[in-house]
Amino acid sequence: MPPSVIGATRLRENAEVRIGVDVGGTNTDAVLIDGRHVVASTKRPTSADVSAGVTAAISDLLGEAGIAARAIGAVMIGTTHFTNALVERRRLDRVGIIRLASPSGEALPPLTGWPETLARQIEGATFLLRGGYEVDGREISPLDEAGLRTAAQACRDEGITSIAVSCAFAPVNAAMEERAAMLIADAHPAARVSLSHSVGRLGLIERENGTIINAALATLAVQVVSSLGEALAALGISAPLYISQNDGTLISAAEAARYPVMTIGSGPTNSMRGAAFLTGVDNGIVMDVGGTTCDIGVLANGFPRESSIAVDIGGVRTNFRMPDILAIGLGGGTRIRLGAGDDDFVIGPDSVGYQITEDSYLFGGATLTASDIAVAAGKAAFGDAARLPDLAPSLRDAIVARIQTMLADGIDRMKTASGDATIIAVGGGHFLIEDDIKGAARVVRPEHAAVANAVGAAIAQVGAQAERIVDYDAEPRPLALERMREMLLARAVAAGATKDSVEIVDMDEVFLSYLPGRSAQIRMKAVGDLAEDASLANAAFTETRHAH
């Protein structure tokens, strides 16, 4: 779809001007915001190299808003690039997988439970080595240093440059993983090493899965992040670049290049937060219709509903916190294949994707898409309606009705209460959702609906997190937790969050039975909305993952 810049409003004086970008599989959306007001927005096709699409989108914004590149305070980018790479199984590194836990765990070697084709594609070499910790801090076995050197050399000889290391109880004691990283670096200096304690919490299989995914994305992550940086530099933007994380907060570009897996759920998070922001609706169902899929999530009290147990990424079980999303293969570019009769047609699941601006009838092509049908039925108006093929109205209406049924089924699967829900329709293909769709009490279509995910990136949340070891014999638990809670809330506000929006989103306590007394390691994270007048320069980007 052509770029559309909506409602350029006047810039206010004190607020920091920020750009939010969402790099999707089909489109690259971008918005320019001033504090919390959307000043300009645009939608461009995603380019194969990512950066050309980003450059084009940001150029649109600067031109429309009449702003110099140097006036931009920060650029926040959310991307589904890494998720798509995993789902489509392309551009993934082969990974050298090292687990330090033997002899325990040998019944469940790494990649158990993975989709077979993905496992075959990713697995470079697997090493189950002696090492790891017991719950009380003892070693399961002493670290097999010779085995590690051999493994690293084997990876080097095989040309494997991405290595994932996991170790039993690493979130409690990271020493063996860190020692392993040093030994690997000595034997195989070119290796990029992902350590499990940097990626996840207790639960070896899920943490290891996340670490392997991270390692598989290592080369792509460096390429994508550096190409984003180059795009900004070419535009003359010197503002810092941040990447959206799964929970709506940001990490630095450098951190994202090392830990791409931390950003893998940011697409749905951004679109849901953007939808909530644009509508003020706190409880409802967000339907983000893109070019290829409709992602359906639930907003509960203003936050995306999370999956409680395990999150599947590309069929792999992990324990990341991220929104519970149902993806349906139905978007603006979804192909419609016609048969002989009025009831004889197939919708999707494939899509023309970013080639919609060439392949669909609306843009002069010869592939029938969901967008063509919507325009033919008068549900949307873009492209050149004169190019649409002649369709019997009964057939057209049957296709429209089938699309509504598919979407309504999705609403029904995600709904938790029995009554009708408020539906927030966003994304470039939101017109596919009709106002009277089954299961909807009402359908809300906010201004800027088409770029809700870029808005979500731009209104990033700021967070503060900390990790402390507390002896509850010295400081009672309720007091220790309350003190930490207040410290984090204050730090989040100091980092730019509005006071009434800050809340503790995560608290993790691990008792350390190897220390005297009742000692526990507490990790806590507070997150809030970025205040209008805040500058991201004040935000402390916590890089505490390696602290112990």
Partner: protein, 368 residues
């Protein structure tokens, strides 16, 4: 009867997770192992108690330890077979079939894997009708059978035979060994005859777990309320005649410690909007649920926290701050509720200062 399909294993895992009352370990790891065994060796044979010969030698087995440890320290794979082989040596005869010491959690599936290795069937019954933290809480101890000879094996290849006069001493010895071996070990215990199992074991609990898991899966697939389906399926088993939703809210505090071989702690859930709170105390398993100080369910009745949307069970080691959960309680099988049983598995057996009251009595007003 045979378990032939992965979907049946998944139903069993889902049902066993619920019946675990928060304990028995997340069945996910056992499920992965069982799926691999199914692919490698074919269908699992499941035999009803009625078809077992009186003089058959049956071996209850499962994992002992803290579920919080089981998510990090995973099995080596040699533990179960090593333990069962040693028991055969001690008994001087082959084991005819195995059964889960407890149907709840991962332990409800664990014997399948051992059975596949030994090519013997699994008996459709168990020793607890749910999961309990301690070995002497098995119905076999309540009914006076001996836990010994018992064999405890660990990932490092170590093997210990336990022979004690009484079953509480057996539990203490086994627990101390499990702690010294890193907090998790495999145990074969209460070897018994077919006749004894028919007299004492909780019958049909594996098929009951499969039915419960299937009901949740099918309700979800059909877009129906999985909690209603769960309640109906539990009642239909005949073993678990009542089911209640005690609470619906978000986890706002979680205190969980691995202590002397157990996961102990409490979880606090805040209701949506109304400011009420539920507190659930656990020792591996959830023991008591109180809403604003008032007890709504207690051991041995089943208390399970589930994802409020998907009805996935959240075992104690998988609880996290911020999870949105429903607290579901189900009446325990009747054989766990008589006076003799309650002295081993009632609230006083867990050091609580009150007598057992059934969940259906405590929630009378809810049903009225």
């Amino acid at each position: 009867m045979r378990i032939e399909r992965e979907s049946e294993l998944q139903d069993l895992a889902r049902g066993a997770a619920f019946l675990g009352s928060g304990g028995g370990g997340d069945p996910y790891y056992s499920l992965l192992l069982a799926e691999a065994a199914l692919a490698r060796r074919g269908a699992f044979e499941l035999v009803p108690l009625s078809e077992i010969a009186d003089d058959a030698l049956l071996a209850p087995c499962g994992w002992i330890g803290a579920p919080t440890v089981s998510v990090e320290k995973l099995p080596n794979g040699s533990e179960a077979v090593a333990g069962l082989r040693r028991l055969e040596e001690i008994m001087g005869r082959p084991i005819d079939a195995v059964l889960p010491i407890e149907i709840g959690g991962g332990n409800g599936l664990a014997p399948l894997i051992a059975a596949a290795e030994l090519r013997i069937p699994v008996v459709d019954c168990d020793g607890m009708g749910r999961a309990f933290p301690e070995s002497q809480m098995a119905i076999f101890n309540i009914r006076g059978l001996s836990a010994c000879p018992s064999v405890l094996t660990a990932a490092d290849g170590s093997l210990n035979v336990i022979n004690t006069e009484d079953n509480l001493a057996h539990e203490r010895a086994a627990r101390a060994l499990a702690v010294s071996l890193g907090g998790i070990a495999h145990m074969v215990e209460y070897p018994l005859s077919g006749a004894e199992a028919r007299q004492h074991a909780v019958p049909g609990s594996i098929t009951a777990a499969i039915a419960v898991g299937r009901a949740i899966r099918e309700a979800r697939a059909a877009g129906e309320d999985p909690f209603e389906a769960l309640g109906a399926a539990l009642e239909a088993t005949g073993l678990y005649p009542h089911c209640f939703t005690l609470f619906d809210g978000k986890i706002v505090d979680l205190e969980r410690e691995t202590c002397e071989g157990f996961s102990v702690g409490r979880v606090t859930i805040e209701g949506f909007g109304d400011g009420s709170r539920m507190e659930v105390e656990f020792q591996n398993e959830n023991l008591v649920a109180k809403r604003d100080g008032k007890i709504l369910a207690m051991v041995p009745d089943i208390i399970t926290l589930m994802d409020r949307d998907t009805a996935d069970t959240i075992t104690t080691e998988k609880l996290k701050y911020g999870q949105r959960v429903k607290v579901i309680a189900a009446a325990a099988p009747a054989i766990l509720r008589d006076d003799q049983a309650l002295s081993f598995v009632g609230p006083r057996a867990f050091g609580m200062a009150f007598d057992f009251a059934p969940v259906e009595t405590l929630n009378l007003s809810e049903t009225a």
